[in-house]
Symmetry: C2
Subunit: 335 residues, 2 copies
């Protein structure tokens, strides 16, 4: 038995047509007699024929594959985004190839992109949330369709991004509306654009209310760092409201507050960011900001497909607004 399945010529022979007619049927060309089309279809089914993507990619110059470069696909955000991208791409007939990367530095990103390019992917999505990624993107070949997600807004590259600033402002405002005098912020790592945007939004909301932003508590997305910041905040009696840059930080903060006997939301209100599925089951259920990953994926893919089809690049932008999800971790201050 041949290791490789039947080829187009085998189908053609069985159907009594030329391989080109088979190709036409496969690609949905018009001008094929209905009867012929059916014969070909039958032959395809009978032989269990599967078109050879490599051959097609070779002759057309591009495959039906989209490359994704991401750093830590274990984190909730990237994982959700990746899954959404895959779903969306599949619907358009594209496969998704992951090129995850240990660090988002210049070398790693370039290497990952290189790998994708040598597979002749149709386009590349780079989830590039940190500054060091930006410089790698500048040197990339210009002729491959590219979209960045949560990347550097100042770069002339098509970009889809969650509106971090608006989300953070909403979260902060929500706490101020509840009556809090000010809002503390536990941030993500300072080299992530997401972090910077969320810090900005928090600052903007406070300044707009005529308030002086209290010192920033820098975290690194992990519950562990949230816990450490939480231990400090718990000791400060004037703290009544905390906005954390993600839900896992919030979990660490909640844990620290609990240990110090500060009750949430009675003594201190907390708002997170991401709306991980578990957020509703934290103690207490966490008020948070939900980015719409599906929308981000759809927008990214649409931007990518536009480039693939038209061949033109261009510095397109798309921003997805997140929504606030109110739960029980926010209440007015006690007095």
């Amino acid at each position: 038995m041949a290791v490789h399945g039947p080829a187009m010529t085998d189908v053609a022979r069985l159907a009594g047509v030329s391989h080109q007619t088979v190709s036409r049927v496969l690609n949905g060309h018009p001008n094929v007699r209905e009867q012929t089309r059916l014969r070909v279809r039958a032959a395809i089914a009978e032989l269990g024929y599967r078109p050879n993507g490599a051959a097609r990619a070779l002759v057309t110059g591009r495959s039906q594959v989209i490359g994704v470069v991401a750093q830590n696909t274990t984190l909730y955000g990237p994982a959700s985004l990746l899954a959404a991208l895959e779903q969306t791409a599949a619907a358009e007939g594209f496969a998704v190839s992951v090129g995850s990367v240990r660090n988002l530095d210049h070398r790693s990103i370039s290497a990952a992109v290189e790998r994708h390019l040598s597979h002749r992917v149709a386009g590349i999505v780079v989830i590039a949330p940190v500054e060091s990624a930006a410089e790698a993107l500048e040197r990339l070949p210009k002729d491959v369709p590219l979209v960045t997600v949560d990347g550097d807004p100042s770069l002339p590259v098509p970009l889809v991004t969650v509106d971090q600033v608006a989300g953070a402002r909403a979260a902060t405002q929500h706490l101020l509306d509840a009556g809090h005098r000010t809002v503390w912020h536990v941030s993500g790592p300072s080299d992530w654009f997401d972090s910077v945007g969320r810090i900005d939004g928090w600052r903007q909301a406070l300044l707009a209310a005529g308030l002086d932003p209290p010192p920033l508590m820098p975290g690194d997305w992990s519950a562990a760092s949230g816990y450490r910041c939480g231990q400090m905040l718990a000791r400060m009696p004037e703290v009544t409201a905390i906005f954390t840059a993600n839900d896992h930080l919030a979990l660490g903060v909640l844990r620290a507050l609990h240990e110090f006997g500060r009750r949430v939301p009675d003594d201190i209100s907390v708002v997170g960011f991401d709306d991980v599925p578990e957020a509703a089951y934290f103690i207490p259920p966490l008020t948070t900001v939900r980015p719409d990953f599906d929308a981000v994926a759809r927008a990214s893919l649409q931007l990518l497909l536009t480039q693939i089809e038209s061949g033109t690049g261009g510095a397109l932008r798309q921003t997805i607004a997140p929504t606030l999800v109110a739960r029980e971790s926010v209440a007015p201050p006690r007095r």
Copy 2:
């Protein structure tokens, strides 16, 4: 300007050799003069040449791509596994193409596998934790290297799996060792092999201790279902120890117990499964069972590569033992 980069012949022309010599340098063949090799390397660098994977795949019959079929890559387990697989595969020079799938039924899996096959992947990893997936795997073409992860142990297909039974036994035993009279179990969905294995392990540990397993509380992996089960368990004064099939279920249980004023671990001890990064920051820190996803990924890939290189299939098995991580959610019963 040509949209496509330079081809092997361009490199050959610049280096003053035949394209075949370039090919030899690229594939590390012996019998190439050192001086020639250097000239070719220089030409490759100068032109920024990148080999065309599609052409290579066409002529060799297989690409350097591994297809992964998974259901919900947002869940912690699958996401970790996928990331680990990607890392391991990259180290071996393979790219990973994801084919996620809404449901693990026969049709969806077959379709995903078909997609991978038409891209002529070198091998396929199916993360197939449910029974309905098993039947899809039976009808798969036999000539493509395949490994299943957490699949049906009774199927004659290479399988890598976490030793769910041993993990669950260890968790249950840990609670019994602490002095509890019996252990309740909040399980995952009953069509998942993982669930079944964890239920088995729990039963085995109880039976070995001469105990009659209490009724099973069926969940679905989500914190929401854990919460619902927890509400029931919280009302039953005789419950002092709970083993949940994963950490998110545990989170829901913890929340329910907290609402009913049952303290953990003072009144009730809880053990989870998975060791999500946040587990250490639950209230209280969760004792849990940690599967080694890296080891699973390594084993899967190794099994796959063996098949790819040797061409032989065979019903190889590999089981990875998980480890218990003791934290503060377990204590002896009060009296």
